[in-house]
Symmetry: C2
Amino acid sequence: EIPPNPACVNSHGQPCRHPLTNTAQNHDLMACEAMVRGHFAAIEPTLRKIASLQREESFVESAQSIARAELGFELPARPLKDAWVNGLDVRALYGASVMRTIRLVIDKTQAIVNQDNEDDVAFFLDCGYHAVDITPCSDGRLKGLIRYILRLPGATIRSKKAYAGAMFDVEDNVARWIETELMRYREAIPVPADAGTRYLKIVVYHYSSSDPDHEGCAAHGSDERLAAKAGLDRLSEFRQAIENSFFCGASVDTLLIGVDTDTDSIRVHIPDANGEMTLDRWVCNLRLYQDTVNLDPTSARVKVFEAISDATVADAVEGPHEGMRRLIATLLINNLSQVEYVCGRYGGRYPDIGHNEQIISVGDGFGEFQVRNLAYFVYLHTVEESVQDLDVGIKIFTRLNVERGLPIPVSIHFRYDRRVPGSRERSIERCRRVGDAIKSRYKELYQQGLLICGATVQDMASGSPIEPIELDNILIGRV
Amino acid sequence: EIPPNPACVNSHGQPCRHPLTNTAQNHDLMACEAMVRGHFAAIEPTLRKIASLQREESFVESAQSIARAELGFELPARPLKDAWVNGLDVRALYGASVMRTIRLVIDKTQAIVNQDNEDDVAFFLDCGYHAVDITPCSDGRLKGLIRYILRLPGATIRSKKAYAGAMFDVEDNVARWIETELMRYREAIPVPADAGTRYLKIVVYHYSSSDPDHEGCAAHGSDERLAAKAGLDRLSEFRQAIENSFFCGASVDTLLIGVDTDTDSIRVHIPDANGEMTLDRWVCNLRLYQDTVNLDPTSARVKVFEAISDATVADAVEGPHEGMRRLIATLLINNLSQVEYVCGRYGGRYPDIGHNEQIISVGDGFGEFQVRNLAYFVYLHTVEESVQDLDVGIKIFTRLNVERGLPIPVSIHFRYDRRVPGSRERSIERCRRVGDAIKSRYKELYQQGLLICGATVQDMASGSPIEPIELDNILIGRV
Ligand SMILES: [Zn+2]
Ligand SMILES: [Zn+2]
Ligand SMILES: [Zn+2]
Ligand SMILES: [Zn+2]
């Protein structure tokens, strides 16, 4: 029904042009993606080139000059100096380069991406939400969710912690809701408690339209219906937990979104007037793209709102409130640009529909790091609690890296709150503890130099610098 | 200056009688302590007796009949039945008996201890506090803190989580404060937000008057000044974290208390009018006992209040507010009963001034389990984060049990909130995860049968039953 290259129905060979596409934004995002991918892609050929020179006279100097030119930084001196004795320790250099590239790329991203402005906060408030909290699956293919797929201003999202299968921790989320509420009551931030606004919790699951049985969500056995149902159940548990503990009316709205990781198109489950969603009532944005690509902007916009109404009408239920309708319409329209982005850049579908990550990102994760398939992310406080998610990541990277003799780069990152005394010190301690636990869990890989850990901390405030932390593998700490 | 048996200054050979002692309460507490200690004390002799019969004809029946009579429950059948082949597995029976005794003792305690009533809540509110949160050191000798040493109604305390060295987790405590505040704002529970009441955070450190250099707080190298200073610093970090994050005035009061674990007498650090405390400004309740034991009740009471005022007068600072003064006076007066309790029952000082615990209690801990030196307690979510505290416990029990061939009983206990969907299931999962981590950390002990884990969960509501959970060692689960 949907063609292999679904966004390109009506333009034979020609690139598509949807009337609602934000062309300027697509251009900027493309530049950012190219910058990030370029830096990572340079690592392997550069090291190969350097390795080929290791018997030459002034090896250290030439190696560093190549590294500066191709990678943008110098390599750790020790392996270069020692190369003449035992051969070049490519694994150590690879690990160090990946860790250094992460910081380089984040610095550049922070410089490129516009700071979020008051309009962005105003948008959510206009829809009736004082806080928006999004839980995607930790799958690396959703790493571009906020900035690319949904085109939302990252800093205005209350939380975007990812969990395997989007199965978020209910207690953790209730605690965040409580904190948000208290800010409204005590400080009227962002609006007073009696302003009639709500807290919005979104869950994002994913599936693969090209290979649904294999490239969907691993945490749910690549079963898209199961993934959706699990998300729906968890959302309802969250809402019920709040209602049961705080006797409060429905001050929480929930929303379920599916992402086709092959095309980045979304599917939004439309709530009814009571906020209830079903597995089968959704608006498919691929279809909407096809239906609106030849219209003028106003008609296209009307059609988006119609699609939302049609969904609840077809089910003979009342539709969601005005603010929710506007929010959904905006998400759909934003995502039309991304459908076209994937179309224009990748011919409709990503070539790497499966795993193809560069690093395992562990801890709180990098907010700046929003490019698809760049990181396999495990949100964790302790290895003990998240060992299954980590094992999956190690398995993926055994195939991606270890089989070619390259190490698995594990980047540990925790955020702290400089307003809380001792918080930074505790986040550093946490990096070290998690690092030790990872090395002990995957001891064999680590001892062969096939698993390399780096660690960084960062203040909570948006745009804060990334601070590298020395773990015991001094080599990487010094880069 | 303070005599070896400090509470007995003026009665040569005669038991002391302080005019403010709550004799009826002392009597009840003594009965409760005797019940608890009696059940644990019965385990070893009973198993020895049973072991001596193992070659007899109807061994299983006689063993069970002895167990029922002496311990109050039947032993697991398997080791008794198999005894004729490999000899009696005393380690397994000991572990099972300890786990079963814990539940028996808690059931009995729940039946004995009066439910807390509205007067108790009213007392704290009268002092100006809508919530009281106490952090003691996790040392087993403070296990009787709330019910015995301070004589406070347990259910009205917001939290009493213990940490090694009383070094509580600031983030965790701020989250609890936030939740308490939201309840006031949203639900006016226990009083509306504008009632002018405060949140009180108490830290309790400890020291040994008999052997200060060895039997003080292990977490602070048995240095009482260091223990007090660490508590003071942590309290100030907590207050600052709240002020920095919520811009709110001093809605939090803090209080530092020291306990002499040899006599159970307390020392209260007296805050000034700004809530500031110092290491050297305190009221010593042993001294107060001596100074008031021969007075009439009214004069004794006046003297307690005078001691509080004298402390700040001597420092030439203004004293704390009326509510804080009343709270401190009440704590001191309550503790006078405990000083006399220890005097009457143990001749002024405990005979076991060092470690003498029966179990390692891990997780959330048993609120009902308030008898000194009964449990070495490690409050934890994961073994990974608390491995140092656990190692200390294992070391203590290696000396107490393993050297005599008896296993270390580790009792894992987590509470859940039945109002939160899935919370009970998650607490059970947590029991199993922590159990696995403990067995893997102390693999050798476990494989020799020298470490035995049991697990239980319990709803948050005060007085909820203890629910045993099967770990993989089926034997204990079945008892
Ligand atoms: Zn196209
Ligand atoms: Zn997934
Ligand atoms: Zn006496
Ligand atoms: Zn201690």
